[in-house]
Symmetry: C2
Subunit: 194 residues, 2 copies
């Protein structure tokens, strides 16, 4: 979120930002901003604010965002096709290297410029292409099994679009993209507002 | 996440669950599970675990998930069309009532069974259809302005798909769906694993 906010500030031509201004953007207190950033080092000068460009570059370095990451996609249904055609990944250094599907009717077809491979080719492709991230766009019922296969193949990070709460071991990093869950997490507060 | 995990347990035929089992599912400690649930009332019996069906119904009631919520969508490009055709919203009580686009070439067309309306029709539609949630699927450059218009029209919750960190007042509930941000939040940990 810091990287996102700082990138936005830079695009607006803002080169110095205070904890208060950054806090306003991120809906956090200035104290929390200072605390978070102090965790990584000394970025700001008392009373002068943060240099946006310097802070952004430092955070990108720390977070591993100044390098490229290779990903694969499992599931080339409607959602999977939308993901592979999503234009936001490549500019941020996330490269889609391979796509897979368990449905033999999909295998061999071309999606997003990549030939759809069978699940049996997963392990070899992950190793060959140095794939660290697996993107899961299969139906809920298949998702846990696909996630297990990705992890067995050596993938270390999972971006899961299936509406389940997957179980993974502690050494795997998982993020879920789940719009229904996002809506469900809002309604408690909307009730209060009613 | 509790609702999601409990729904999954129920579908697996599991009717009683311990804090330990639930914690395993949610990658949380049993102590945190007990603490979270005690916040809402007394759900479990010492040594007997939680009744999955009862806990799920109580949580759904508390969170406002046992009622229907009316939503509108702004932006009917590729992403907007994927959202409106997403089959996961309706079964969970989120109804898409209206769609809007600022591009006059889109207005009048039909997307997901709804006629695309101009932005000038937004306020009236939000009031007439009692729309509480606005879903934003416009390009980054337009997103803040669209969010402002939704809030001015009386929408109380925003589900934002645009890759920006929007600024909203404290009485508006906002959730961002941002796969690039999700990937970026993983890379720090993937570096450590390398």
């Amino acid at each position: 979120m810091y990287v996102r906010a700082l990138t936005q500030l830079l695009s607006e031509g803002i080169s110095v930002v205070s904890s208060r201004q950054l806090g306003h953007r991120l809906q956090m207190t200035p104290a929390q901003i200072r605390k978070d950033l102090s965790y990584f080092g000394r970025f700001g000068k008392q009373g002068r604010g943060y240099d946006v460009h310097f802070l952004l570059e430092e955070l990108r370095q720390i977070l591993g965002l100044n390098q490229e990451w290779d990903a694969c996609l499992v599931g080339v249904g409607r959602l999977g096709r939308a993901i592979i055609n999503y234009p936001g990944f490549a500019p941020e250094g996330f490269r889609m290297r391979a796509v897979f599907d368990s449905d033999s009717r999909q295998v061999g077809g071309v999606v997003g410029g990549l030939r759809v491979q069978p699940m049996s080719a997963l392990s070899e492709a992950v190793e060959r292409d140095n794939i660290t991230i697996g993107i899961v766009a299969v139906p809920a019922a298949e998702a846990q099994s696909v996630i297990d296969q990705l992890i067995d193949s050596g993938v270390q990070g999972i971006l899961n679009y299936a509406p389940i709460a997957p179980q993974v071991s502690m050494h795997v990093v998982i993020r879920n993209i789940d719009p229904v869950l996002a809506l469900q997490s809002m309604t408690f507060y909307l009730r209060e507002l009613d």
